[in-house]
Structures are given as C-alpha cells and as structure tokens.
C-alpha cells in the first residue's frame, strides 16, 4: 500500500512538473496567475455597468451592451472610418480570419500580451469601443471588455455587442475575411 502511494505521488509530482514546463514553453500556454473570468465573478457580486446611447438611438436596455441595430448604427457612423468608433473582435485568430466586422481589431483575451497594446492604442483615440465575439452563450466579449477597461480604457466608452458575429452575419450585414482592413469584403447571406 505504501509503495503504491509512493508511486502515485511520484507520478503526480513528475507529471505536474512536466505539465508546468510544457505550459510555460507552449505558445498557447495559459497564465497561471490570471483570473480569466474576473468579469463573471464580479458581475455575480453586483458589479456595475454603464448605459450608453447609440447615435440617434434609444438608450440600451441592457447596461453595457448594444443591440444589433445599435451596433449597425455605430458601424455606419462616419466616425468609424476616422477611428472614433472601433469594433474589437474577441474570438480566436482563426475565427477572425474566417470573417469579422469590417475594420474590427482582433483581440485574443487569452493571450493579451500579443494584441492588447494595439487595441489599447486604437481604443485610446476612439470615442466608442464595441466588443463582440460569436454571440449566443459566448462570454468572451464581456471578459475582453473588462480586460480593456482594466488596461486603462474609460468604462463608459466600452460596450459589448452581445449578439456577436452570428447575429451580424445572420442579418446579412457586411463582413471581411483575412486581416483587418486588407481582408476581402464579403456580403453575408441574409
């Protein structure tokens, strides 16, 4: 019995040490110190959010979020082309390349060190930052928005488009494939 426990302990220790090293070396490794779901835990403790209005539109019913129509209005706002309104895509890079809202900036919340500086730089000059992910049960946009606020952005100008890219494409609104700004425009089927 003692031999068995010793052997299990050996496997456990060696296995965990190897796992630590592998996670550290892997480019996809996660940070062991980060709480990736901080926004969710704060929300469950009564965290507050912000309410904003879309241009010429009614106040958003859900604080901190925009509806599809409001997201479209922000998309069509001339300020978007001047960088005053930006869309941030919080999905993984492969999904972003398959199709995103034209001009959106990719932000991988699991590896913020890769893209956060670019996003913050663009967002600092923007008056409105709209974060989205897949939509539906996807929570990445909420967590990404929280990370952007933590990085120093004014909470009042960061909103989440909860319907996400699924709703956007379902409505047949334009998307772009490939890299930001240089990807091929693509009209989604309605």
């Amino acid at each position: 019995m003692r031999l068995l426990l010793n052997e299990m302990l050996e496997v456990l220790v060696v296995g965990l040490l190897l796992a630590l090293v592998a996670n550290q070396v892997s480019p996809r490794g996660l940070s062991l110190r980060r709480d990736y779901f901080k926004a969710a835990s704060r929300a469950s403790h009564g965290g507050s959010a912000t309410q904003r209005e879309a241009p010429d539109g009614p106040a958003t019913r859900i604080p901190g979020t925009v509806s599809a129509e409001e997201a479209l209005r922000w998309f069509e706002d001339p300020g978007r082309l001047l960088g005053r309104v930006i869309f941030v895509d919080a999905r993984k890079e492969s999904a972003f390349r398959e199709g995103h809202i034209p001009g959106a900036i990719a932000f991988d919340r699991f590896h913020p060190e890769l893209t956060l500086p670019d996003v913050v730089l663009a967002a600092t000059h923007a008056e409105m930052v709209i974060v989205y992910c897949l939509g539906g049960a996807c929570e990445d946009s909420h967590h990404a928005a929280d990370q952007l606020v933590e990085a120093g952005l004014d909470r009042a100008k960061v909103l989440v488009y909860a319907g996400g890219i699924s709703e956007w494409t379902r409505r047949g609104w334009p998307t772009e494939r490939g890299d930001r700004g240089v990807g091929a425009p693509h009209a989604s089927p309605p």
């Binding site: 068995l4 296995g15 965990l16 190897l18 796992a19 490794g29 996660l30 062991l32 779901f37």
Partner: protein, 156 residues
C-alpha cells in the same frame, strides 16, 4: 492480499496479455486526449468554466493549463510501461471525477430543458467535441474497467 482499492489474490490475477493491452489502450487514449486539449487550452478553460464547480477547488487556469499535459504524461508512462501501478489509480481518479461532473451538468441541463438525460449532448471538454452524455458516461465506465484490468494485470 490487499493492494490499494482492489482485493487481489495471486490466483485471481489477470493474464499478462490483458493487462498489457489495457495499459496500451489507456496510454493511447490519454496521450491523444491530453494533446488535443493542450493544443487549445483556452477552449478547454471555457468548457471547464461551463461546469461552474471546479473553480471552488482550484483556479481554473491551473486545471486548464496543467491537466492536458498531465494526462499526456500519464499516457506516455502507460505506453512505456513505467510506473504503471502508480499511474492507473490517478487515471481512474481523473475519469471518475470528470464522469461525476458530466453527470451533474447533464442532470442540470436535463432539468432546465426537460429533455431526457440521454438526449443531452454537450462538449464535455473531453477532447472530442460535442458528445451524447449517456455514451460518454458509458465510455468512461468502460475505461474505468480497463483501468481495473490494467491494475490487476501483471504487465508493468
């Protein structure tokens, strides 16, 4: 003679071949599952978060970052035949814990949607995408039996 959780008499020991096959099968499965999850730890992390239970015991990032590599290590140990006796109970423990979590989540979903338990499908974070719950639980049950066979077998 009592060894660990099993009562084993020398006459009841399974033949070498059964134990050998059991550890090879488990080795391949755990190595494959571990490496699949290790390629997308962020996806695994989100799936673990969906259970809504594990974060009470350990930070989810630790589990998502380390468990896939630990599973892969167990797989390699089983394939190489090193420390098999110490590895199999750990493999069985992982299977047992995740089976309970899958069952608990499936019961929650079944209660919320009114669907029969065996009609529930979701991505359990097991490395194979969306699966039917009953089939997954059956698979895990079989793997636990294979763990027992490997443990009782002489192949080490």
């Amino acid at each position: 003679m009592r060894t660990g959780m099993f009562w084993v008499s020398s006459s009841s020991r399974l033949p070498d071949a059964a134990g050998w096959m059991a550890r090879l099968a488990l080795g391949v499965i755990f190595l494959r599952m571990g490496l699949q999850k290790a390629q997308h730890p962020d996806e695994f992390l989100k799936l673990l978060h969906a259970y809504g239970v594990l974060e009470r015991f350990l930070p989810l990032a630790w589990i998502a970052a380390l468990l896939p590599w630990f599973e892969a290590t167990c797989g390699v140990l089983l394939l190489l035949g090193w420390r098999v006796r110490g590895t199999l109970p750990l493999v069985a423990a992982m299977l047992g814990v995740f089976s309970l979590l899958i069952l608990q989540r499936a019961l929650e979903l079944s209660g919320a949607t009114g669907m029969p338990l065996c009609a529930i499908r979701f991505d359990c974070g097991c490395g194979n995408g969306e699966v039917a719950v009953c089939r997954k639980l059956l698979e895990n049950g079989l793997l636990l039996v294979v763990c027992g066979v490997g443990f009782l077998g002489r192949s080490r």
